[in-house]
């Protein structure tokens, strides 16, 4: 088994095919989208492949140390930052192919006009613990 992160972006991913913002969908379309996302997680729990799913607020801040004895420096949020993560799902699957298959299904969540969004999701493998037997 290997763990993969399916990463969803507010900004920074190529524009999806169905790019209508969510507040311009009909209430029924919003409902269908929310239900799809809930059902997807429930289904992965049932197949034993779900690990975690979290959503992030778009508001964030950059922080760095300013040296010992001084408070950290904060800056931002920067409107021009290209990449903004919206949330993730962590899955534990048998193969890279399975991770890509699931990301594809998640990308087809229904959006405006009830059509699939075909949103671009990023699939990133976790760095695993070293194996016991190496030779």
């Amino acid at each position: 088994m290997a763990k993969y992160l399916l990463l969803k972006h507010y900004r920074g991913a190529p524009a999806p095919a169905n790019n209508v913002p969510m507040d311009k969908w009909t209430p029924d379309e919003v409902e269908a989208h929310i239900k799809f996302m809930q059902d997807f997680a429930v289904r992965l729990e049932a197949t034993g492949e779900f690990v975690d799913a979290q959503a992030l607020s778009p508001d964030g801040v950059w922080v760095r140390s300013d040296g010992e004895g001084r408070p950290p420096v904060t800056d931002g949020p920067f409107a021009e930052t290209k990449d903004l993560i919206a949330g993730w799902m962590v899955i534990d699957v048998d193969s890279y192919e399975r991770a890509v298959e699931l990301a594809g299904e998640l990308s087809a969540a229904p959006g405006g006009s009830g059509e699939p969004i075909h949103e671009w999701l990023e699939v990133r493998p976790f760095l695993a613990a070293p194996p016991t037997i190496t030779q």
């Binding site: 969510m22 507040d23 311009k24 969908w25 009909t26 209430p27 379309e29 919003v30 929310i34 508001d59």
Partner: protein, 385 residues
């Protein structure tokens, strides 16, 4: 959680105060009581004791002695405690109350005080508390043992007071997380226990507040977890017994003429609970209670909620001018502004503000709710065009 479990855990403060009263240090005594609880669960199934408190005290005391002995053996010291516990010394209500104060010690952070209260007063296991707050068990175990060390260092002489205890119980009640443990029910149980130990009118106010909100619990969310706003809740699902109890407790507290923050909040909740239909809500009186509440807690959140009430009592324009005094950075301000502008007939602005509210929502249920509102208004606007 079974009823037996709740009854068992209700004995925890008394048992723990007996041990502390016999000179046991708080941290070890607390571990010993947890040990006794675990043994009680299996032992009582086949052989329930005639006097459960006495049973727990005996077993917890032995567990305490074992812990001290093995500790002493490690450090090669004499055990100073008598194997036979001193007789008499029945703990008074004040002793149990001191435990509450200790767990809400002002030197503790709120997350530590919450965890310690749930374990040492509530009798929950570390695993249960960790599950309720969605953190790893090892993390919660560390949080609790650090809290115990802080309390031991700060000294039992300078514990918190009933205000700090109420704040901790309020935080427990307000946590919406799910797990095996119903934190709201647990907060109510502990507040009841606190009310039986102290004469404070605002503790009764807090209990009334919790009961009145708990009564609406079934109608607050749909089966899929989505939020139902107060105005749209199915009031036939409200728990009339809890409402009646909450109102009775509140009236008795108010009659004592020692008004406090929680009584004012409970009075607002009672006025909502009193209205058989949303149209019958007495918004004028609710605004008056918000004004009372402001004299105890002048916070942006109270002012924000007051603006909603003003909007209902005196119309949307009045609500919007009340809102003008609330800073832009206050959580949920966009949502309230959207609601008031919609009521005022400015649907385009309201739709934009609902979308802003969704973007800034602090949780998923709230985000989805505000997004539905934005979608609903935008659909309406498309039809009108």
């Amino acid at each position: 959680m079974t009823t037996d479990d709740v009854e068992l855990r209700a004995l925890v403060p008394r048992v723990l105060s007996v041990l502390v009263g016999r000179g046991a240090d708080f941290a070890t005594a607390e571990d010993a009581v947890q040990e006794a609880l675990v043994r009680a669960v299996s032992a009582w199934r086949t052989d329930p004791p005639a006097d459960p408190t006495a049973w727990l005290v005996t077993v917890a005391w032995r567990a305490f002695l074992d812990m001290v002995r093995s500790d002493a053996a490690r450090r090669d010291r004499e055990v100073t405690f008598d194997t036979q516990p001193p007789t008499g010394a029945v703990p008074s209500a004040d002793d149990s109350l001191r435990l509450y104060f200790l767990c809400a010690h002002p030197d503790l952070t709120s997350s530590s005080a919450v965890a310690l209260t749930l374990r040492a007063v509530g009798g929950l296991t570390t695993r249960q508390i960790a599950q309720a707050y969605l953190v790893p068990e090892a993390t919660m175990a560390q949080r609790i043992s650090r809290a115990k060390r802080t309390v031991a260092r700060a000294g039992v002489e300078r514990p918190g007071d009933v205000r700090t205890v109420m704040r901790v119980l309020y935080l427990v009640f307000n946590e919406g997380y799910s797990g095996d443990i119903d934190l709201a029910a647990e907060a109510i149980r502990l507040t009841r226990q606190l009310a039986s130990l102290t004469d404070d009118a605002d503790v009764r106010g807090l209990l009334a507040l919790m009961l009145l909100h708990h009564a609406r619990r079934r109608s607050r969310t749909r089966a899929d977890g989505s939020i139902v706003p107060l105005a749209e809740q199915d009031r036939s699902q409200w728990d009339v017994e809890l409402i009646a109890e909450g109102i009775a407790i509140l009236h008795a507290a108010l009659a004592r003429d020692q008004l406090g923050e929680y009584q004012a909040q409970a009075a607002i909740a009672a006025l909502h609970a009193d209205a058989p239909r949303v149209e019958e809500t007495d918004w004028v009186q609710i605004v008056e209670w918000y004004d009372e509440l402001l004299s105890f807690a002048d916070t942006p959140i109270v002012r924000l909620n007051r603006a909603v009430a003003v909007g209902e009592a005196d119309g949307a324009p009045a609500g919007l001018s009340a809102l003008a005094a609330v800073g832009d950075d206050v959580p949920r301000r966009d949502a309230v502004a959207a609601h008031l502008h919609e009521k005022n007939g400015d649907l385009e602005l309201a739709a934009r503000l609902y979308a802003d509210a969704a973007r800034r929502a602090p949780n998923l249920a709230e985000r989805d709710h505000q997004m539905r509102q934005a979608a609903r208004l935008n659909q309406q606007l498309r039809h009108h065009r």
